[in-house]
């Protein structure tokens, strides 16, 4: 593949930049992401994951089953803060964050 070909459309990371991370020891999608910002744009790696996996496979010889999936965080697709911060009294965005955290005697455990 031509080195200048864009791999991550959102952050505009080229094949060359991905390959450089791998030459320096990167072996997973998340390695590439943390160094280059690949996969950190609005689509959150939906489009570039398989291409990066292919590059890792070609450059390292790792089989696809040895290249783990990237982290997939919520929200699963872009959402407005206004929508997350609902006015509902029975449910709110704050609760959704607190759900991830364990409270013991009024304090975070």
């Amino acid at each position: 593949m031509d080195k200048t070909t864009i791999i991550c459309r959102c952050e505009e990371i080229s094949c060359e930049e991905v390959e450089e991370v791998i030459s320096n020891g990167g072996r997973t999608f998340d390695d590439v992401k943390r160094i280059t910002r690949c996969g950190m744009g609005p689509c959150q790696a939906k489009i570039c994951t398989s291409m990066v996996a292919e590059i890792i496979h070609q450059q390292t010889g790792l089989s696809p089953s040895e290249i783990p999936l990237p982290r997939m965080r919520m929200p699963l697709s872009p959402i407005k803060l206004e929508t997350l911060g609902t006015n509902s009294t029975s449910f709110s965005a704050v609760k959704s964050v607190l759900d991830e955290v364990e409270i013991e005697e009024g304090k975070v455990r």
Binding site: R9, E11, E12, P42, K46
Partner: protein, 107 residues
């Protein structure tokens, strides 16, 4: 180009609506996505990329790639492929990062 006579589907184009892109009026039909309606009018460039300032348009047409981001009725970063056209809609291309700071009226 709008497909006037679909070769298979018996349902044809529905109600015509007028949408505005860069303040210019264009013909669209209900149930079309904004990105599709603009393409029917020959508009394929829906914005530019953030870093290299390169043209962007419709890519996946199902709300995954975010390549079709546009400003629609005052809201920035709307996936135009997932938004259906409405009469009088005001659409602008996604040319740079939105202004986060805005003037607020005292309540």
């Amino acid at each position: 180009m709008h497909i006037e006579k679909h070769p298979v589907l018996s349902r044809q184009l529905l109600k015509p609506v007028t949408i505005y892109f860069n303040d210019q009026p264009y013909q669209a039909y209900t149930q079309q996505s904004v990105a599709a309606a603009l393409m029917a009018n020959g508009i394929k460039k829906l914005g530019v990329s953030r870093k290299l300032v390169q043209s962007r348009g419709l890519f996946c047409s199902r709300g995954r790639c975010c390549s079709c981001y546009m400003t629609i009725d005052g809201e920035d970063h709307v996936r135009s492929c997932m938004t259906e056209v409405e009469e009088g809609m005001r659409i602008y291309p996604n040319m740079d990062d939105p202004e986060v700071r805005r003037e607020f009226d005292e309540d």
